[in-house]
Every structure is written in structure tokens, then in C-alpha cells.
């Protein structure tokens, strides 16, 4: 059975007096008949032009937003509200700026009752993401990469069932992104989490994903649902990865970029 | 959060510190039955510093409550904060008419008000169309100025009177902001001494027996502390007699309490000596009915109060004699 089933999902922003999705003007329709499935413990990447409904789609699956039509099933049950087992790493900085890195990660460890154990766990996760030594720093005292790491640590410490990441590395510089990419591979290998990952970087998706879902412009439809069954680390220059890469570029209308 | 606790503690320490400092330095503990007497630092209220100095430490010691404006004093009186107060006669009458439980029991003094004009001016007529300052509409000074104005055959239309705080009047005259003013002492004497103004009329000449401020008692306080209030009023009466014969000493007490130059007060009390009078300070109902009718004429009230204004039932000749002996003996 699939971990997540998305069945002909519609989303429209209803302006004014509650018109249904069918009567909505075209530009108000964000998701149009989106369907796909995600396997347990898989890493799914969503790519698509900016401004398409990627974030909306993820927010609906995570339960922060409700669909206008269709269904989202997680473990066969419809999603109704956010769950502390389904952690969302937001596009903007989601760390609480008034808390130190340690305190932020501890927010994810509230379920551990024993104080000593909780402390050990928090330290372990800080170390895992490589920001041990910075636990007493406030977010604004950390670099962009460190902030993302702390946020990932905070998400992972909850031992999440689903992990949603909305362009988590888009604001980072090139080198830091490359490092974070590698670490995501490791994290996915270490944890039993199903990861849903939005990116506008096709190479990032090819490096990380077990599955790539290519989305169209608004109203967003699924253009392609590609399964990648390649071991890590991946050489994007090698066939057949290079072929898939070309395919995705074409799908997104980026002929000239190749 | 460590810092939160620290700030909280710091705030608590500061709160306790500043409160105790304030209570130690600024709040004087007075017995609950101490009478509170309101006043302004003017010679019309001279009985306050003199009596205060004499009665200090005795069982009649009272708490003088200093005000800097009439409206503040009125609010405090209405709020029942004062057992008695020195207040302008027209204000007292208006309050009685409004139903505030007070009675006029004594006068502050007689005369002691003057019309001051720019140096070189010689008649009221020269003030026509020029700005003239009065302390407040509800003052005897205002009524006096209007009466004098009319008596001089001038039209009230040409009287441009503005309300001004008395301490500001001498400097306003000097700077040319106003051409003249009518005020209680010592603010007439001040311009005279500084050489910037001339006294056109002393009230002792223009309106003999002129009343400016009166003492009123709060009738609610009278119910509770009647005996003590009566004793203090008799003491005041005795002190007025004392002032008449000890003007230089009286000036000293006033200067000390008012924070005004002693020279100025001495000048007021002695140059000439009848500039202010502390004789005959027992109020008469007839005088106040007249003032009230004058107020009606000037449109300050719509009718004369239906109740009596004056109450002098506190007077006790034996007590006055006793108090006078006591003061002289000190």
C-alpha cells in the first residue's frame, strides 16, 4: 500500500461570495486534478515553475490547508489537521528567533519525558547535523546553513512519519547547498521517514529523489511522475540519469538551458 | 529564562527602594485627626503661615495644603480632601449655590488688592481697549475692576480682561503684554518695587473693607471634627489680632513658608501699613448677599443662593482671649 495517495485534488481560492471551484475564474484555480502516490520511506521531489501550486499542494497534504475537491489519504486515512508526526520545514526561517538553537531543537523533543534523556537526545541531534558547539547561539547569530541544519534537527528529533520540506535550501549559497544535499542523502538513509521535498533546482531533485513529480504552471497539473531507482552517490552526467535530466528540462520548457 | 527573572527581581527591588525612599523623605506622618487647611501663597492667606508657625507642636497643629491654582483647590475641596480652606469669596458663593456643603466662616483679610498700571499711566480710562489682567473671573478682583470701570464712566465693551496667574502679571506688565492688572498682594507690590508699574488704586481707598479671600469650612468635616475646627477658627481670629501688631515678624513667617522674598512681604505689610488690614475679619451675611447680587449682575451666577452663606456661630470670645494670651506668652 502507498504511504500517501493524492486523488484528483483541486484547490481554488474563492474570492468574494463563496463560488464553487467550477465557477472560479481560471487564474483562481491553483491545483487542477492532481493525482499521485508516494511509497513508504521514499524521497519524493516536486519540481515546477515558480508560482505554481507546489507549496499549496504540500500544505494541503500536511493538513495546514484544505482542498477544494478531491482527497488526500495518508496511511489510507484522510488528512484533516496538522499532526506532530508530520513535520513541515517552511520555506522561510521557521526557527523561533527568541530561542537558542538548543531550545529550538528541544521544542521537537517535548515528547521525551525524562529530562536527562531529552538533553542527551537534543545534543545528539545537534551533533548529527553538525552544529554542536553552537547550541547557545540564537538563530540570528547562526549562518543560513546552520539555521537550516538546526531546523532539520528539530524536525528529525520528533521522529516524524512524514517530513515536508519546501525549498529548504533555496536561500543558501552554492557550496552550502551542495553540503546540505549530501547530508539529506545521509539523513534519508538513517531515518525511516517519508520525505516530500519541493525544489526549483532540477539537479537537486535528481540527486535526492526516489521519485520526481514534475508540475505544470497554474493551474497546476502533474506533467510527469518519474521513478528514479539509482544508488547514491549519483553521477548526473551518466546515462540514463542524463537522459532523465534532459527529459525534465524539456518538460519544463527549458530547451535552451541544456 | 534567567534574564527574565533578573529583570523581574531588579524591578521589584527598584519598586521597594523608591517607595521606601519616598515615604522616608517626602511623606510626613500626620495624626489622622489633624485638620487640613488649603491655601495659596498670597498675603490674603497670611493667617496660614503665621498660625502654622505659632501652633506647631501644640494640639491645634494643622496641616497646611499648598495649592498653585484655584481650580485645583476647588477640586480638592469638592473631593472632601480639605477640612477648611482659604478661597476667593465669589468661588465660595458659587460652590454654596452648587450645593457643596461649605459655609463662609472668616475673612482672609481686608483690602490688600490694588490696580496696577504701566508706569506713566494715570487713569483707568487709559486702559480702554488695552489688555488688562485679572486673576480669574470668579474673583473679587474681577468684580472690583468692573465696578470701578463703570464708575469711571467707561463702557464695559472697551474692557479687554484676560485671566492670568498672578505670579506672571508683573513680568507681563514689564514686557508690555498687558497694560495693567488687578491682583491681590504681593503681586501688586512686586511691580511697584521693580519700578515697572504704578498702583492706580489701593482697595483701601477705592473700596474700603474690600474682601478678597474667605475661609470656608467643609460641613461634613464640621460634623466629625467640629470641636477642633471651632478651636482653630478662634485661634485664627486671635492670630489676626497678633499680625496687626507684629507685621515684621509675620512677614518673616510668610516668606519662609511661601518661598517669597521677605523684603517683598514686609513691603506689602508695612508700606503703607493699612495697605492690608487684619482687623474686622468677621464676615457678615449682609456683605455676602451684596457680593452675590453683584455676581448676579455680572452674570457669574443666575440668582442669589437661597441658603445662608455665612456662619459665625463658632465664635467664642473667651476662647479668643485664651488663644491671644497663649500666643503672646510664647
Amino acid at each position: 500500500m502507498s504511504k500517501i495517495e493524492v486523488k484528483s485534488l483541486y484547490k481554488a481560492y474563492v474570492a468574494g461570495n463563496g463560488r464553487g471551484p467550477e465557477q472560479c475564474a481560471k487564474d483562481q484555480l491553483i491545483l487542477k486534478d492532481v493525482s499521485f502516490e508516494v511509497k513508504e520511506r521514499s524521497f519524493t521531489c516536486f519540481v515546477g515553475p515558480s508560482g505554481c501550486g507546489k507549496s499549496t499542494l504540500l500544505r494541503i497534504i500536511a493538513g495546514f490547508d484544505s482542498p477544494s475537491g478531491g482527497a488526500v489519504l495518508v496511511d489510507g486515512r484522510p488528512v484533516e489537521r496538522p499532526s506532530s508526526k508530520h513535520i513541515f520545514v517552511f520555506q522561510e526561517d521557521g526557527l523561533f528567533p527568541w530561542m537558542t538553537a538548543y531550545e529550538n531543537v528541544a521544542i521537537g523533543a517535548r515528547w521525551i519525558e525524562d529530562k536527562k534523556e531529552r538533553h542527551e537526545q537534543v545534543m545528539e541531534y545537534l551533533e548529527l547535523v553538525g552544529i554542536d558547539g553552537f547550541e547557545n547561539h540564537y538563530p540570528h547569530e547562526l549562518s543560513g546553513g546552520m539555521r537550516r541544519r538546526a531546523e532539520v534537527a528539530r524536525a528529525l528529533i520528533t521522529n516524524p512519519d512524514l517530513l515536508f520540506m519546501d525549498e529548504p535550501f533555496s536561500a543558501l549559497d552554492f557550496m552550502t547547498r551542495m553540503h546540505m544535499r549530501e547530508e539529506m542523502v545521509n539523513v534519508h538513509a538513517m531515518f525511516d521517514t517519508t520525505i516530500l521535498f519541493i525544489t526549483h533546482d532540477i539537479d537537486e531533485a535528481l540527486q535526492l529523489g526516489d521519485q520526481i513529480i514534475v508540475l505544470s504552471e497554474r493551474p497546476t497539473e502533474v506533467k510527469a511522475d518519474i521513478t528514479l531507482d539509482f544508488p547514491h552517490p549519483r553521477d548526473l552526467g551518466s546515462e540514463p540519469l542524463a537522459k532523465i535530466r534532459r527529459e525534465v528540462y524539456f518538460l519544463m520548457g527549458l530547451h535552451a538551458a541544456l | 529564562m534567567g534574564t527574565g527573572k533578573r529583570i523581574f527581581l531588579l524591578a521589584a527591588v527598584w519598586l521597594v527602594l523608591i517607595t521606601s525612599l519616598h515615604y522616608w523623605r517626602n511623606v510626613r506622618r500626620v495624626p489622622v485627626d489633624t485638620l487640613r487647611v488649603g491655601y495659596l501663597p498670597i498675603t490674603c492667606h497670611l493667617l496660614v503661615p503665621v498660625s502654622h508657625a505659632h501652633l506647631k507642636g501644640s494640639d491645634l497643629a494643622f496641616e497646611p495644603v499648598k495649592f498653585t491654582s484655584w481650580p485645583d483647590m476647588i477640586e480638592a475641596l469638592k473631593g472632601g480632601e480639605l477640612d477648611m480652606t482659604f478661597i476667593l469669596a465669589p468661588i465660595a458663593i458659587t460652590l454654596i449655590k452648587q450645593g457643596v456643603p461649605i459655609k463662609v466662616v472668616l475673612l482672609g483679610h481686608r483690602d490688600g488688592t490694588a490696580v496696577v498700571v504701566k508706569k506713566g499711566l494715570t487713569s483707568l480710562g487709559q486702559l480702554a481697549g488695552k489688555t488688562v489682567a485679572i486673576p480669574i473671573r470668579y474673583s473679587m478682583q474681577n468684580l472690583a475692576l468692573r465696578t470701578l470701570w463703570r464708575q469711571a464712566g467707561l463702557s464695559l465693551q472697551e474692557l479687554d480682561a484676560v485671566e492670568m496667574a498672578p505670579p506672571d502679571m508683573p513680568s507681563a506688565l514689564a514686557s508690555g503684554g498687558i497694560w495693567g492688572y488687578i491682583v491681590g498682594e504681593p503681586y501688586a507690590a512686586q511691580a511697584e518695587m521693580a519700578g515697572t508699574g504704578t498702583v492706580l488704586y489701593h482697595m483701601k481707598d477705592a473700596w474700603p473693607g474690600f474682601i478678597s479671600s474667605v475661609v470656608v469650612v467643609n460641613l461634613d468635616a464640621m460634623k466629625r471634627k467640629g470641636v477642633k475646627i471651632k478651636r482653630l477658627l478662634n485661634a485664627f481670629y486671635a492670630e489676626a489680632r497678633w499680625i496687626e501688631h507684629h507685621r515684621v515678624e509675620a512677614a518673616h513667617f510668610a516668606a519662609e513658608m511661601y518661598g517669597l522674598p521677605e523684603k517683598l512681604i514686609r513691603y506689602v505689610l508695612t508700606t503703607p501699613p493699612d495697605r492690608v488690614s487684619y482687623h474686622n475679619i468677621m464676615p457678615k451675611e449682609r456683605e455676602f448677599q451684596f457680593i452675590a447680587s453683584l455676581m448676579v449682575e455680572e452674570g457669574l451666577i443666575d440668582s442669589v443662593p437661597s441658603v445662608s452663606i455665612v456662619d459665625t456661630s463658632w465664635f467664642d470670645a473667651d476662647l479668643v482671649k485664651e488663644r491671644m494670651g497663649w500666643t503672646e506668652g510664647r
Binding site: R110 | L15, I18, T19, N26, T68, D72, E75, Y258, G259
Partner: protein, 256 residues
């Protein structure tokens, strides 16, 4: 002290020096009488007299006492009220118009009422300070909550924070920078109002010092009192600015 700080210090002091020079110069040039405007030396002497006799300290204590209590009472009532209104929309819609209506009424307009209700002495002065701080503080706390970045609330819900824990760990600290800004601004206003509040029916405090000196024709004390008020105001602002540098608040304005 590095060179930049030194330069800034010198610049800020030179402004005061300039003022004193202009002041003294104007008196000499235009032959201003001592009664109208005493010179810096006379005012300095007057201040020393006041300080030497201990009177000045007593007045400062009295003013600080009234500001402390008025302000303190406003903080402990206005901040919780503002937080509640920020969260609870129904209550906000009822109470906010009231607050917006009462806020523009100058605390000085309340003087007659304050005297009538609270008599003479410290209570009316404290009440006026309270009023001057209360309404702005409510508004600052309320808008602090309203303007919380929605991401923080989403993250908090995502991690299962709710009830008191949500308020203490997320809503209050997120609104705190706005509240602290409110604290700083209202402390300034409170100090501004104290002088006026002390011009009524009290016998101590810097405002009283000024009115009393005016009545006793001591312009040097009046100006001396003004200088002390300014100096303390400067000091209070300096102290409360330190709050904004605290680690739990400093983040504000540094992110995004």
C-alpha cells in the same frame, strides 16, 4: 573606548556646550534681565543650592516614585490585556474602539476627574501617569500579537504546542519586541506627563519644584528643574534601551 565612540561622545557633548554658549551670549548681547532668563552660571549655582540642601534629591525621589508606580500599574494591567485582545478577536472588536476613543484624550484632560476621585497627593499624579501609559501599552501589546509572523504559529501548531505552553513559549515571546518598543515609548510619555501631574495638588516632585519656584519668582530654579527633568529623561531612555538588547528581543529587525 574606540575612536568612533569617542568621536560620537564628543559630538553629543559639543551640542550641549553650544547651547550654553548661545545662552550666555544671548544674555550678554541683548542685556536680558536676570529675572527673565538667568545665565548658565546662575542656574548652575541654583542647582547646587537645591542639591546641597537635599531638596532636589527629595523632589527627584518623589517624581520617580510616582512615575514608577503609575508606569508599573500600567504595565501589569495593559500588557496582559493587550495579549488577550490580540488573541481573542471577539473581545478585540468590542474593546478596541473604546481604547482608540480614550487614547487620544490627553491625560491632562483627566486632571479634574483625578482630583475629584482621588483627592490630593500621590494618587491623582500616579493615576495620570497610569493613564498616559496604559492605552498605548495595550495597543502595542495587541498589535504585537496581531503581527506575529504566521510561520511561527504554524510551526508551533505543527509541533503540537497548545494552550498555556503556546502562549508562554511562542505568542508572548514573539510579541515581546513590540511590547518592549511600547515600554520604551510609554516610559518617555510617562516622564513627560509627570511634570504636569505634579503641578496639581502635590507638595513634592520636579513639577512642583518648577511651579513653586515660579510662584516664588525663582527663574533660576525653574530652569534648573527643567535641566534635571531632561537629564533624568535621558537616563531613563538609556536604561530602557538596554531591554531591547536582551537576547530574547534582539532578534527583532535582524531577521528578514
Amino acid at each position: 573606548m574606540d575612536r568612533g565612540t569617542l568621536r560620537r561622545r564628543i559630538s553629543s557633548i559639543s551640542g550641549f556646550v553650544l547651547l550654553i554658549l548661545v545662552w550666555e551670549g544671548a544674555i550678554r548681547l541683548f542685556h536680558v534681565s536676570h529675572y527673565k532668563l538667568p545665565g548658565p552660571v546662575d542656574v548652575g549655582k541654583g542647582l547646587l543650592e537645591l542639591a546641597g540642601s537635599g531638596v532636589l534629591l527629595d523632589h527627584v525621589i518623589a517624581s520617580l516614585f510616582r512615575v514608577t508606580w503609575g508606569y508599573f500599574l500600567a504595565v501589569v494591567t495593559a500588557v496582559p490585556l493587550g495579549l488577550v485582545l490580540g488573541i481573542w478577536r471577539g473581545a478585540r472588536e468590542v474593546i478596541n474602539p473604546l481604547i482608540q476613543f480614550l487614547r487620544p484624550i490627553s491625560p491632562l484632560a483627566w486632571i479634574p476627574i483625578a482630583l475629584l476621585w482621588l483627592g490630593v497627593g500621590d494618587p491623582p499624579a500616579i493615576f495620570l501617569i497610569f493613564l498616559s501609559s496604559f492605552f498605548p501599552l495595550v495597543v502595542f501589546s495587541m498589535s504585537g500579537v496581531e503581527s506575529i509572523n504566521v510561520t511561527y504559529i504554524r510551526v508551533a501548531t505543527n509541533f503540537g504546542l497548545k494552550g498555556l505552553e503556546l502562549y508562554m513559549k511562542v505568542i508572548f515571546p514573539a510579541a515581546l519586541p513590540s511590547i518592549v518598543t511600547g515600554l520604551r515609548i510609554t516610559l518617555g510619555t510617562a516622564w513627560l506627563v509627570i511634570v504636569a501631574a505634579e503641578m496639581i495638588a502635590v507638595k513634592s516632585g520636579l513639577g512642583y519644584l518648577i511651579v513653586d519656584s515660579r510662584n516664588s519668582l525663582r527663574t533660576d530654579y525653574v530652569i534648573g528643574g527643567m535641566i534635571v527633568i531632561g537629564a533624568i529623561g535621558l537616563f531613563l531612555d538609556h536604561m530602557i534601551r538596554k531591554l531591547e538588547d536582551l537576547p530574547g528581543i534582539r532578534w527583532h529587525g535582524k531577521q528578514r
